[in-house]
Symmetry: C2
Subunit: 157 residues, 2 copies
DNA sequence: CGAGAATGACAACCAAGGTGTCATGATGGA
DNA sequence: TCCATCATGACACCTTGGTTGTCATTCTCG
């Protein structure tokens, strides 16, 4: 009767991948809520947190680079960076490669702020980890990265 | 110098879990964009798609149930359901368990619409699947579910 | 039966994030 | 070297996913 019959086994790989797909939404919302209720302690917003975290992990980079890295528009990242700069969390550094587009760098205050946030998140995740094995988490990372890169360049039909 | 030193190995489980955490944002955004550019063919919005998909997978349920299932507010789901109902994609069915809160059910049109969407998504995901093994995807599902349920009940601090 | 919980309806609101545009400055090719 | 072009920053506007708050109703259960 139905044209697509997932069946009780739900076996095919693409179907399981679809399950992953469906988990992303709820997960994102809850994660965001957690971050939202934690991050204000340092006076950050979710967007600013994302930017600082990126800088924390990848080192100084330009605004457009960050946009690409996080799948966000250049302009949005710019706003977050400006906001962070006003609060003294990041600063501009000369970019040898491009004169106009300066590198954004964490200030000591910025580093302290994002470190505090990340540290709390990790404490939380440690609890969540439970009996999950490294191998499982690695697989998860592989799957998600694959999905991420794939969604990046493919257009739907 | 830094209080949290991830180190080059990035080994500890909680750190890897943090990586998963960080992937969720970009993934969500790209996934959402894909869905956004696909879903209008059936005249759906992202929110309506989520509702229909839920009904498709879990069968008829009430609005509050759906909200809980997707980590969305009751009211938001209600809006989506009302919207879907206006378009004839879902219909109300008497709920034996609660007289006031009716079960929401897919109409044939609704089923056709969501099936079409899901089918296209699956075609896409099949491509994305590539050489990912079932086992990897399973691990991924386990990790994400764990994370999801954990974030659900725990409060920060 | 009465109190309190659950539901639907509706309004107000918030914030994430995108888009469009402009001016300016960088860059690379003829 | 100069010009066409691209990339960047700045700013305004908008969309919309999603929440919160409130009220009236209805259900449920002690």
């Amino acid at each position: 009767m139905r044209e697509t019959d997932p069946g009780p086994a739900a076996g095919a790989p693409a179907d399981r991948l679809a399950e992953v797909f469906d988990l992303v939404g709820p997960l994102y919302r809850r994660a965001q809520r957690k971050v939202e209720q934690d991050v204000p302690r340092e006076g950050l917003s979710v967007g600013v947190r994302a930017v600082l975290n990126l800088l924390r992990e990848q080192g100084p980079m330009t605004v457009p680079q960050m946009g690409r890295a996080q799948a966000l528009s250049r302009q949005f990242v710019q706003r977050m960076v400006n906001d962070a700069a006003e609060r003294g969390l990041v600063e501009l550094a000369a970019n040898p490669a491009h004169k106009r587009s300066s590198l954004i760098r964490l200030t000591p205050e910025g580093r302290a702020a994002i470190d505090a946030v990340v540290e709390r998140e990790r404490r939380l995740l440690r609890q969540a980890g439970g009996d999950l094995t490294e191998a499982e988490i690695d697989s998860c990372l592989r799957v998600l990265s694959r999905l991420l890169h794939f969604l990046d360049d493919v257009d739907m039909d």
